[in-house]
Symmetry: C2
Subunit: 302 residues, 2 copies
């Protein structure tokens, strides 16, 4: 089965304590789409300006991403400029220019409306809702969000939660959103707000998947060096949704596997700037790393 | 096989934001000994004052802890007074009275010297070395430590590392000790200092086991409420060592199981103040929780 993805498409400038790169392909939808493309056909809904480089359109196409839902409009592409501390968990946004994103109204081509698997990557919840309103027969909807929307768009976000199957967010966002210090309490509270599942991403500590009478704790891949953490969460959720679409089932076993595939793709993505690592990645590489996840977390019955 | 344990024995006053209790049985060796006793015979090396309550001696005996190595001397038992913030990961020591501990010279009864499994629970590394010097045929030695010794007794601690098989320490101690922000780098650096294995405990995020060409990531049990985190790490390492002793083997499979048994016992211990929960705990309870650890972290090959 195929998946739809919507979210931001950006030109990023990313600075770490060791390197700085400008005009990188970025945005939640770019990471999510390429990550998902290792598992299924991806259909992109988004917006870019006339300055958007041809090479990035080619990169999407190389990954068989359907661009019928991509609007190319007069003006400039959304730009993000961020900096990481030595501790790669600490990120500062230096500047944001919404540009064409400011007046974005997602319009779904007719061919997109019945896509069964949906990843609403991080954008304003109002836009995520706007996309959902145009979908007709979605089987499973995954949504991501961020601290900004938790703070400034809580009501639309809560409305979104009533319409999606799985919310993905990181540890600090889960605490901020629920006002719980315990991640276990936070995860369970999110379920009360609507979605059947919630995933709390913990970076170097792996992630937690919550469902009714269901809990799964996934490890993180032991990376010694992280070159650029940007987009890791988007890759995680994009690969997770893509894997579910490829299997066309959402039972507990498949969800557990989807979380591991998501973690595996995210672990590759941080090994290079922007989408550099994913451009040379193969499905075989992913399968190999999946096996390593199994090896490093498996133990026998006592 | 049997195990020897040495470490502190204390009378604790523990304050959380909800409760305060005084004159609790505490100390690293108390927690480690009771935790280990669910798996094997435990032989305790330690010191208490004449004020040490009979009921706590009875508690050790109820768990078949051999007390031939326990010195009862004139003076007062070591006392610790600590307070937890709302976030139970944050602890402040309000006061410490070393009392009889100040002049403690561990003396091993002859019957203790050939015990094969050893847990050097948290005390000054000089004392841990002093105990080791009296051991004759130890098969596997686990050592714990704390921030204070990393700061004030680095050289004896590094000497200890050359003599033990496994160092157990928590996340912040691992970073402090190795000056690495990455826990993966920290774990591998500790191995270069001597021990064959290192365990980095991450509290609510589980723990990591490092060996040469060996890595195991264990989840934490999803507890909604933690009543008293005191002694969780001591219980973890005590149960880990006790399980290895009971199996009398230290291959990778057994080590992985030992880490899960350690995590299971530690997860019970934080459910009540002091050793309250462990006093009613059964081996069957532990086995049941072990199965839950399996359920919550198991996934199939992709």
């Amino acid at each position: 089965m195929s998946m739809l993805i919507t979210g931001s498409i950006a030109l990023d400038t990313v600075k770490t304590q060791l390197e700085e790169h400008a005009d990188l392909l970025g945005g939640s939808a770019s990471y999510g789409a390429i990550a998902g493309s290792f598992f299924t056909d991806v259909h992109l809904v988004g917006i870019v300006g006339e300055d958007f480089p041809q090479r990035y359109l080619d990169l999407y196409r190389k990954h068989r991403v359907n661009l019928d839902g991509l609007q190319v409009v007069p003006g400039k592409t959304f730009r993000w400029h961020g900096e990481y501390e030595w501790d790669m968990n600490e990120r500062r946004t230096l500047s944001v220019a919404l540009n064409v994103f400011e007046h974005f109204e997602p319009q779904l081509p007719a061919s997109y409306r019945r896509l069964p698997y949906v990843f609403l990557a991080n954008i304003a919840p109002q836009l995520q809702l706007h996309v959902l309103a145009q979908m007709e027969r979605a089987k499973f909807i995954v949504a991501d969000t961020m601290d900004l929307w938790i703070e400034t768009a809580r009501e639309p976000l809560l409305e979104l939660l009533r319409q999606v199957d799985c919310l993905v967010l990181n540890e600090s966002e889960a605490r901020q959103f629920t006002k719980e210090t315990s991640l276990i309490k936070a995860g369970r509270k999110i379920l009360q707000w609507g979605p059947r599942y919630a995933v709390v991403k913990k970076g170097e500590h792996g992630c937690l998947l919550f469902g009714a009478d269901f809990f799964f704790s996934a490890p993180a891949y032991p990376l010694e060096d992280i070159h650029d953490p940007t987009g890791a969460g988007d890759c995680f959720a994009g690969a997770l949704t893509g894997y579910l679409a490829s299997r066309d089932r959402v039972d507990h076993d498949t969800l557990r596997k989807a979380v591991i595939y998501g973690s595996a793709v995210a672990s590759f993505n941080v090994e290079a700037f922007s989408l550099g690592r994913l451009q040379t990645l193969t499905r075989q590489d992913i399968e190999h790393r999946y096996q390593l996840f199994k090896l490093m977390s498996h133990f026998e019955i006592g």
